[in-house]
């Protein structure tokens, strides 16, 4: 498993690095974490952690792709790059797969793939921009 991260899309930034070392828990436990966060006050609205949790029309910024390297590469070629904004659009009747607007085009993914695409937390987003 290779993780692609973080330093995109700062155009002037010379060294976009691949966060090869960053290993994360699976999404199940991350979701658990976000529920706990909600109870301790300040960060009351639960922010979506993965692409699969975004609602239709709600935008999120990609942080990394927790997928095997060849799959991650293909997704990046389709526009799912760390730092890029993704907006879920319509889904097929039945809710799956869903079309995502990313990098000027529309790509359909199943939920099982979308939940491996981890979003940047809003706090980190505002700090970076």
């Amino acid at each position: 498993m290779v993780l692609y991260g973080d330093a995109w899309p700062k155009l002037q930034l010379a060294e976009p690095e691949l966060d090869v070392l960053k290993k994360k828990r699976n999404t199940g436990s991350t979701m658990q974490l976000s529920v706990n966060n909600a109870t301790n006050g300040r960060k009351a609205p639960i922010s979506p952690q993965t692409l699969a949790q975004l609602r239709e029309g709600e935008s999120g910024t990609l942080d990394r792709l927790e997928l095997p390297e060849d799959v991650a590469r293909r997704l990046m070629e389709l526009g799912f790059l760390p730092g890029h904004e993704v907006v879920p659009a319509r889904s097929a009747p039945g809710g799956e797969p869903r079309v995502y607007q990313v990098d000027g085009s529309e790509v359909a993914l199943r939920r099982e793939t979308a939940k491996r695409l981890i979003l940047r937390p809003p706090a980190a987003r505002s700090r970076k921009s």
């Binding site: 389709l78 526009g79 797969p97 000027g104």
Partner: protein, 640 residues
């Protein structure tokens, strides 16, 4: 250079002309671009009908080669490469593209120039492919396609600036409308005269293996060229709201499918009747011209009745392909794939299997070849093994004949969807079910593997052009008539000979006593439970080579017998088959793997005889058992 002034950026590319090497061999230009960039449209625009489809030597990736005529009467060979996002060789498509461009593909000389075609409405992402292509240092024209869309949706790009950023000439064109295509011709004229070469790019090329860096590079180039992305395609959003609607989307999907089948049956009728009459009249005419004897019998009964009875189905097949063409060119097919994905996933298949399976509706051979894009070996094998269950066009003549002979056309679901269309649709569904159930069996046993992700780009909806639809139909007719003129013709002639020997008292025997008849009688005990007599047996044996041969065989047999001649094949079928037998024959054809070309391509793709043998045995057994059940069920009155 003088004829190149309208082509932005050629000035930058000025260089001393290298010694002309074009005298010895034709000038070769490769066309490359990401999927959905309009590559094929441009290729068609440049070559028109002067193109052919073949395979790259040694591999099964399809290559299209065509000729473009320049103003100076010189010809340029155009090679259309597979649509790829990068040159990192992971799939077979990318490997082939890379090898051709590097001159490492046997049998194809290194291209003299490259046409890189990109979608101007999505330049940020599409420019990524420019990096590895420019790194090849071949003379390259960067073509920004869909210029009309870019303008109408308020996008902008400075082509002169982009040309200097990239160090390669840039042309803004609309391949579907033909705007700006003259710049492409000018570029090719320039390179074939050896007057164009590549300048160094202003912004240094990125490390090619690193996707984020390549994308970043593309961004900088785009910013440098004052690229303004167009607003999102409003119409696509609106249409998606309808076509992907939870209720209407499914209804429309079903309506489209039903409409296609209904039109194939009703709409093609006048054309078919006309063609039938033409073949009969010309048959009589040939019969009258030739002296009575063995030659006349061979030509009229063997060749004309045999091949003619297959050619009659050309209008229906073309109508089907017209629909498939409209669905594909308009962008609806991707939505259909999206709607179908959930169902496919249930059977262990993935989105990538969907496209080969769809093209198997035309013919299993190219479908099996196109499975090369599936990276997972097990998924690929599963797709190869189930592809021949899909209702290919070779089954249609048999279906049309039997359905028309045995099913009265009555309104079924309202006045616009009759029983004949319903029967045909039913057979398509049956083939599809057999395919996915087999997939399920394979994926849960010998070919078990992890699910591979589904990713499918949704192109914007577009109006299909008459030009591209026309080319498709032209292509399809060529393939169909070529088969009729080779495989079917050979079978018809061989069958005619077998039906005329051994001579009895110097005269051809009764068909029952001929070699053909003996073969029919020999298989009769096996097929009798299905409701088939020995004449149907002759047809079944001949159809092992190609499915539609059975119709040609019937044409020849009844041509020889003569008595049913005027009444036509339909009546002959009604005399030979019980309703149970007719139903069984349809079922048998839906499932059996009667196609020598498919067997050959499966052997090549799987590297041995094991899988084609297993597949042939499996499909034949399934076909036999299901046909037996069908015959017994009808005779027991289950359907009355």
């Amino acid at each position: 250079m003088s004829d190149c002034h309208s082509c932005a950026g050629c000035g930058v590319a000025a260089a001393p002309p290298p010694a002309s090497k074009t005298a010895t061999r034709p000038h070769i230009v490769a066309i490359i671009g990401p999927p959905n960039s309009g590559k094929s449209t441009l290729f068609n625009r440049l070559t028109g009908l002067r193109q052919k489809v073949a395979n790259f030597p040694g591999v099964t990736v399809e290559q299209r080669v065509g000729k473009a005529k320049m103003n100076n009467h010189r010809e340029v060979i155009l090679v259309d490469l597979p649509g790829v996002y990068s040159l990192n060789p992971r799939s077979e498509d990318e490997q082939v593209t890379r090898d051709v461009l590097k001159g490492e593909m046997n049998g194809i000389p290194k291209p003299d120039a490259v046409l890189l075609i990109l979608d101007s409405t999505n330049l940020g992402r599409h420019l990524v492919l420019a990096a590895p292509i420019l790194a090849l240092k071949l003379p390259t024209l960067v073509i920004l396609n869909m210029a009309d869309d870019l303008r109408s949706r308020g996008g902008q790009v400075d082509t002169a600036e982009l040309a200097s950023e990239l160090g390669a000439p840039v042309a803004l064109v609309s391949a579907s409308k033909g705007d700006g295509v003259e710049k492409v011709f000018q570029f090719m004229a320039g390179t074939s005269a050896g007057t164009t070469s590549l300048a160094a790019p202003k912004i240094e090329l990125p490390v090619l293996q690193d996707v984020p860096r390549c994308r970043q590079w593309a961004q900088r180039v785009g910013v440098g060229a004052a690229y303004q992305a167009p607003t999102p395609p409003l119409w696509t959003r609106r249409l998606d709201a309808i076509f992907l609607h939870p209720v209407f989307g499914v209804l429309i999907f079903a309506g489209v499918v039903a409409g296609v089948f209904q039109t194939i049956f009703r709409g093609a009728r006048p054309l078919m009747d006309g063609l039938q009459a033409l073949i009969q009249i010309s048959g009589h005419w040939i019969g009258n011209v030739l002296p009575d004897g063995i030659i006349r019998s061979l030509l009229v009964e063997g060749v004309w009745n045999g091949v003619g009875s297959v050619i009659v189905f050309l209008p229906q097949i073309l109508l089907l392909f017209l629909f498939i063409g409209i669905l594909e060119d308009s962008g609806y097919l991707s939505r259909a794939a999206l709607i179908a994905d959930r169902t496919m996933a249930k059977f262990g298949l993935q989105g990538k299997s969907f496209i080969p399976l769809l093209s198997a509706y035309a013919c299993a051979v190219p479908a099996i070849m196109s499975t090369r894009t599936i990276e997972s070996k097990r998924d690929r094998l599963a797709t190869i093994l189930i592809a021949p269950f899909m209702t290919c066009s070779a089954r249609l003549p048999v279906y049309f004949l039997i359905i028309a002979a045995f099913i009265k056309d009555r309104p079924f679901l309202g006045p616009f969807f009759g029983t004949q269309a319903a029967a045909l649709l039913g057979l398509y569904i049956l083939g599809f079910l057999a395919a996915i159930i087999t997939a399920r069996l394979l994926k849960s046993s010998v070919l078990k593997s992890e699910r591979t992700p589904f990713m499918l780009e949704m192109p914007p909806y577009r109006m299909p052009t008459l030009r591209s639809l026309g080319l498709r139909l032209y292509d399809r007719s060529k393939v169909f008539l070529h088969r009729a003129g080779t495989v079917i013709l050979t079978c018809a002639v061989v069958l005619w000979v077998l039906a005329h020997v051994p001579l009895q008292n110097g005269k051809p025997p009764e068909i029952s006593n001929s070699y053909a008849g003996m073969i029919g009688h020999a298989v009769e005990p096996v097929i009798k439970p299905l409701g088939f007599n020995w004449k149907i047996g002759i047809g079944l044996v001949s159809s092992i080579f190609a499915r539609e041969t059975i119709v040609a065989t019937f044409g020849t047999i009844y041509g020889i017998e003569g008595d049913e001649h005027s009444a036509g094949l339909q009546q002959a079928m009604q005399n030979e088959l019980t309703p149970g037998g007719a139903f069984a024959l349809l079922i048998f054809f839906a499932f059996a793997m009667q196609c020598i070309s498919t067997i050959a391509v499966v052997r090549r793709e799987t590297g041995g005889w094991k899988w084609p043998a297993v597949q042939f045995a499996y499909m034949t057994v399934v076909a036999y058992i299901c046909a037996l059940i069908a015959n017994v069920a009808v005779r027991a009155g289950l359907f009355t």
